[in-house]
Subunit: 182 residues, 2 copies
Amino acid sequence: MTDVIEREIKVKLSLDPQFLIDRLLQEGYEYVGKEIQEDIYLNGDSRDFRKTDEALRIRLVNDKIELTYKGPKMGSKSKSREEITVSLDDKESMIRILEKLGYRVAQSVRKTRHVLRKGEFNICVDTVEGLGNFLEIEGIDVKEERLLDFFKEFRSKFGINGEIITKSYLELKVEKLAGSSN
Amino acid sequence: MTDVIEREIKVKLSLDPQFLIDRLLQEGYEYVGKEIQEDIYLNGDSRDFRKTDEALRIRLVNDKIELTYKGPKMGSKSKSREEITVSLDDKESMIRILEKLGYRVAQSVRKTRHVLRKGEFNICVDTVEGLGNFLEIEGIDVKEERLLDFFKEFRSKFGINGEIITKSYLELKVEKLAGSSN
């Protein structure tokens, strides 16, 4: 098992995603690939993960299926949390087994992600169903300061105006659903 | 998903397993393969599967890993029960995720199984760690009567004397452990 600390910065994207991707390619960014991701979050009948700060997620990426448990966030400054993942061959059967063990599908988040890379940074251009377009910059084993410097330069070079968002897509979706039902 | 009704007869084997296998091969039985199986059974912290008649099992067969949920036996005469299985890539991670969800490893059963086949019958010659040698005859989609007839003939032809055992290896192991601690 490899433990990698991932740091990421997320902003809402007001530019057209394809326009940004084209500009990045012109600037020598490497195109890594396109992913169709579906994240299915489960919650316990007798254990509310929103209260325990845990998560149980089935992720479909293209034709791969993964089950991940995320433990509560540890410490106050660090964003690290325990993550355990297995790869599976069958989403429906995994959901049925988890239902038998007392867990139900609570929410799902679907997105299309284009991944580009420059040096130690991944640039993810995401279109999230029901939420719109986002940009995520991930640094792999990079100090926070270095990521912030890179983002500052990136932002001014490519005209990215959105505010930094610290919430996950799941939280944004739940927030939006709560808002629309009021 | 395919639902197959498996009927099986199990007896304790007093013959040497290799001697029986050689005799079966002489009689034209087909050798299908050798399997090293480990079955890891889990039980719930707040849900005792021995009481609910359910089972949660991770099975390792050679280099394959499967997670199976078995529901309570249905009906009184029929031996059918719901079974849901997924294939996995990592036993330890699956156990760790299940532990996070409130399930612990309760018991494991390791066996070496030689599988031979004749027509619609599988002959399994099992060496079970701590329990000894057994013979299991499985009929695939075969009426009970036909299986019993086959077993009767098989028994006299190959000199199988043991009594029919209806308990699972897990039950036999638990029984033996309980006995040895008295």
